[in-house]
Symmetry: C3
Subunit: 190 residues, 3 copies
C-alpha cells in the first residue's frame, strides 16, 4: 500500500467518523450511520474524480469501503455518550480536511490541471464530503458558519501545495507537512 | 424495446410518481411537480452513469422523459385527494427501489466493475433519486429514518445480483425475481 | 475573448451576485459568500459538463473564478443595506437564467446531443446553479415556489434555441435575442 493511498484512506476514516457522529446526534440508525459515513468519507473524492473525468478511486479500489464501515461501527459501539459532544466531530473533520486538501490538489496536478484549478479542486475535495454530509442531513453546512473559519485553512493548504509544486517540490513528505499545518490551524481556530 | 429498458423506464415512472406525490404534499405547482418527478426518476441513473463515465442514458435516449411527464400529469389530474396520503408515495418508491437496485448493479457489472463496487453502485442508483428528491425538497431523507429499513432491501438485492453474476447467473428473469423479492421485503417492512 | 465566453462569464457573475446576496441575507461571512457565489455561478455549468463528459470549462479556464470573486466583493463592500431586499437577488438570478439556458443548450447541441436532450441540458444549466445555491443554503429551492413561474421562461428559451438550431439558425446574435426574451419574461413574471 502506497503512502498517498494510506493518507487518503485515513482521510476517509476521519470524515467517516464525522459523518457517523452527526448521524448519532440526529438519531439515525446504524444503516443511516454507515451511509452518512460513506458519503462524507468518499463524497469529496467522488466529486473530484468525476470533475477530472476519472472513474472514482473509491469505486475502482474496494479498500475504500473499509474506513466508513469501521467509522460507523466505532461510533455505534464505542461511543453512545459521545453523540452530544460536538467537539470530536470537529476534530475528526479537521483531520479529514487537512489530508484531503493536499491529496486532492496533488491528484489534480498529476493529471495535468493548472495549479490554480488544482488548488480549487483540492478545496472541493476537502470541503465536498462535509458539505454533502450536512446537506443530506438537512442542516446548514458548517462551511457557512460565520463564527467559524472552516474553509480558510483548506484554501491555504491547497494553495501551498500548488505553489510548492510550481517551485519543484512534491512528494508525500511535503504533503504530510502541509496537512499538519492545515490541521493545526483548523484545530486552533475552533 | 428491450426488457431491461422497459424495467428501467418503469422504475423511472415509479420514482417519478413518488416525486410528484411529494411535490403535491409540499404544495408545489405542476412545473415543480414535473421537475421533481424528473429528478427523482432519472437522478439515480444519472449519478450512476456519471460515476461510470458514460453519457447518462436519460440524455442519450429521449424515451426517458415520458415516464416523469406521465407521473406528473397522473398525480396532478387524477389524485387531488392523494396528496395527504403517505402510503402511495412509499409503495411507488419501493417499486422504483426494487427495479433500480438490480438494473444499476447489472449495468455496472456489464461495464466491467468488480462485483463489490457494482453492488454499491446499484444501491447508489436505487437510493440516489429518492435522496435527491428529499434533499431538493428540503426535508430529511427517508433513507435516514431510524424507524424504517429503507436501504437494507436495496443492499440485499444489489448484493444478490452481484453474487448471482459471480456464480454465472444473469439475464432479465433473474433481475425480475430479485426485484420482486426486494419489493416484497420493502413493502412488508412498511 | 469570444462572444459566447463573454456571455457565459456574465451569467456566472449574475448568478454569483445572487449567491452572495443570499449569503448576506443568511448572515454568512465573506468566505461563505465567495463559496456560495462560486457554487451558484459555476455549479450549473459543472453539472452540464460532467453530464456531457467534458472537463468543466470553469476548471479548464481560470477566467471563471473572476466573476464570483467580483460578485462576493461587490455584495460585501457595496451593499450592506441590500441584504434585506429580495428583488435584486431575483433580477440578477433572472439575467443568469436567461444567459445559461441559451448557452447551455448551444453547448450541448455543438457536442452532438439531440435537440430534445440539448434543451433539457440547457434548462439544467440554467436552474442548476440556483438549485445548488438554495439546497446548500438549506432552504426550499426558488424553483419550487408555486407563486412563481421560475423554470418556465428557461424551458421556453432552451426549446426556442433548439428549434432555431434545427431550422438552421445559430450564432450569438440569436442567442442574445432569445436570452433577452427569457430575461424579459422572467422579470415581468416577478
Amino acid at each position: 500500500m502506497t503512502m498517498p493511498l494510506m493518507f487518503d484512506l485515513l482521510g476517509v476514516f476521519f470524515f467517516g467518523v464525522s459523518g457517523s457522529l452527526l448521524a448519532a446526534r440526529r438519531g439515525f440508525d446504524i444503516v443511516g450511520s454507515l451511509l452518512l459515513a460513506g458519503l462524507t468519507g468518499i463524497g469529496g473524492g467522488i466529486v473530484r474524480d468525476v470533475i477530472l473525468g476519472e472513474v472514482p478511486t473509491a469505486f475502482a479500489n474496494p479498500y475504500y469501503f473499509v474506513p466508513p464501515t469501521l467509522a460507523a461501527l466505532l461510533v455505534y459501539f464505542v461511543a453512545p455518550g459521545v453523540q452530544r459532544l460536538k467537539r470530536p466531530l470537529l476534530v475528526f473533520d479537521a483531520a479529514g480536511l487537512a489530508l484531503f486538501c493536499t491529496s486532492g490538489t496533488v491528484k489534480a496536478l498529476e493529471l495535468g490541471m493548472n495549479p490554480f484549478a488544482a488548488a480549487l479542486l483540492g478545496v472541493t475535495t476537502a470541503v465536498g464530503g462535509g458539505l454533502l454530509r450536512d446537506v443530506v442531513a438537512n442542516q446548514t453546512p458548517a462551511i457557512f458558519d460565520p463564527r467559524d473559519m472552516y474553509a480558510v485553512p483548506a484554501m491555504m493548504g491547497a494553495g501551498l501545495i500548488a505553489a510548492l509544486w510550481v517551485a519543484g517540490f512534491s512528494g508525500w513528505v511535503w504533503e504530510l507537512a502541509v496537512a499538519a499545518i492545515v490541521f493545526t490551524l483548523r484545530v486552533l481556530s475552533l
